[in-house]
């Protein structure tokens, strides 16, 4: 799946977690802009892992701070 298609899928998946309807750009941060707490992160990561059939380990999550980095990581993890 290319970056655009991956981004579109992630866009669908994040909607229920984006409670305040924050506008999403590649620079949107999860902790700061979206105010995700650790529980939300776990549920959101699980949703992405299940959709793309991948693992995003905690080690990899630590490197992902914004929306663009997440899309890049998922593109890469799909191989």
């Amino acid at each position: 799946m290319d970056r655009a298609a991956t981004a579109a899928k992630i866009g669908d998946l994040i909607a229920p977690f984006n409670k305040k309807g924050t506008e999403l750009t590649d620079a949107t941060t999860f902790a700061g802009d979206l105010e995700f707490d650790s529980l939300t992160v776990m549920d959101f990561v699980a949703a992405i892992e299940d959709e793309f059939d991948i693992i995003i380990s905690m080690n990899q999550q630590a490197e992902i701070e914004n929306y663009g980095q997440l899309i890049d990581a998922v593109v890469k993890l799909q191989g």
């Binding site: 529980l39 776990m42 699980a46 892992e49 991948i54 693992i55 380990s57 905690m58 080690n59």
Partner: protein, 400 residues
């Protein structure tokens, strides 16, 4: 200069706000005198202890105390050395023999604390390139062990068998896999479906580590824990446990049937680079563990206490962490930290000590009043405790 302490400002402010209301600091209580496994003097007041993890009440057992005193006389106050240098005394071997017998396993390795047992074993066996699959509600010592070992860490939703299986199946072929589970999860007192989880872990080629800290001595026909109770202990590669709960002193351990297990004594840094337990501690632990092998009556009484308290608090209208009593931990869920702290203080004024637990130690941001029962609590004490909860709740307005 950046003050490295500025990251703690939100917590400092939260504490200041809470204590400015005149509340007793729930994290600074002093036990002035300890009367028995179930009673102490706090702030000059006789207090029933309901938050000690002293499940089997071994802390004042006469044989245990005597073994400790004798060891002080015979071996001195401390070893001043590592297990691999001058710190292995007769007592360390004695307690490892007792553990091997207690669990009917080939190898036992004793650490200076339970925290170090998890830290040491996990970080040593799961290294760079290996995968650790673990429950999201795992204890801090498990998380810290994962971080120190540098393995890929893959958490799954609490007790969710399907979520665990999916993650195991996604791990790249050929990678080393370790599944980490707990018998009893200490925050809510719920148990894990180990039978299913361990079967799936094995089907997917993973080794299995189970932390039985909160079940040893109490759960299972021989008190070996939840894995024994569910008939799967023989499938567990590593059992982690502690001396600071049912055994009644301090220390941690790992028991295993792995044929190469003894090499851990040379490669496990939290075992090598710290002083071993004092002789009095290992002798009290060995004596206690041997007595726990024959503690069937105490186990039965502890179950009875847990059931009665669970039912009593439920009937009184409290929201509890589990629908049914699953262990000797009963977690009472509070609406928020402020009212939880107020309820904790009201209970202390009634003469009852419980643990106030709050995020990040708790799951889902909950504030809990965590109760852990003891086999030495009398049936009468349990009824007194239920009455104290009702009066404190009325005073604070928790059940309205």
């Amino acid at each position: 200069m950046t003050d490295l302490f500025s990251k703690f400002d939100p917590l400092i402010e939260q504490r200041r706000a809470l204590l400015s209301t005149g509340l007793t600091d729930p994290f600074n209580l002093v036990m002035e005198k300890v009367v028995s496994p179930t009673e102490a003097i706090c702030n000059g007041r006789k207090t029933i202890l309901l938050g000690t993890y002293n499940y089997m009440g071994m802390t004042f057992d006469p044989d245990v105390i005597e073994a400790g005193k004798q060891a002080l006389d015979d071996f001195g106050s401390g070893t001043t050395g590592s297990r691999v240098l001058n710190g292995t005394y007769a007592g360390h071997r004695l307690v490892e023999e007792a553990l091997k017998e207690f669990y009917a396993m080939d190898h036992a390795m004793v650490f200076s604390t339970g925290y170090q047992a998890n830290l040491g074993i996990i970080s040593t066996i799961a290294g760079k390139g290996d995968y650790v699959v673990l429950d999201i509600d795992s204890h801090a010592s498990i998380w810290d062990g994962c971080k120190m070992g540098d393995a890929e860490v893959v958490p799954f939703k609490h007790n969710d068998i399907e979520a665990m299986e999916k993650r195991l199946k996604r791990i790249p072929e050929g990678a080393g896999k370790l599944v980490i589970l707990e018998g009893v999860y200490s925050m809510l007192g719920d148990i894990a479906p180990l039978k299913e989880m361990i079967r799936i872990a094995k089907e997917n080629g993973a080794m299995v580590l189970v932390d039985e800290a909160h079940s040893m001595g109490f759960i299972g026909p021989n008190g070996r824990g939840v894995a024994e109770d569910q008939g799967v202990l023989d499938q567990v590669d590593f059992v982690i446990g502690t001396f600071s709960k049912s055994v009644g002193t301090v220390g941690g351990f790992c028991v295993s049937n792995h044929p190469k297990f003894e090499i851990m004594r040379l490669v496990c840094r939290p075992y090598v680079f710290t002083a071993s337990l004092p002789p009095s501690v290992v002798h009290t632990a060995a004596t206690s563990i041997r007595k726990l092998m024959h503690a069937g009556n105490k186990r039965a009484h502890l179950w009875e206490n847990s059931k009665v308290l669970h039912q009593g608090l439920r009937d009184a209208g409290f929201k509890l962490g589990t629908e049914t009593p699953q262990s000797a931990i009963i977690a009472v869920i509070m609406p928020d930290l402020e009212r939880g702290a107020a309820m904790w203080e009201a209970l202390l004024h009634e003469g009852l000590y419980v643990n106030l637990a709050r995020p990040p130690a708790t799951p889902a941001g909950m504030t809990l009043l965590r109760c852990s029962l003891c086999a030495e609590h009398t049936a009468e004490q349990v009824q007194t405790i239920i009455g104290m909860f009702k009066r404190a709740a009325a005073a604070v307005g928790i059940l309205d």
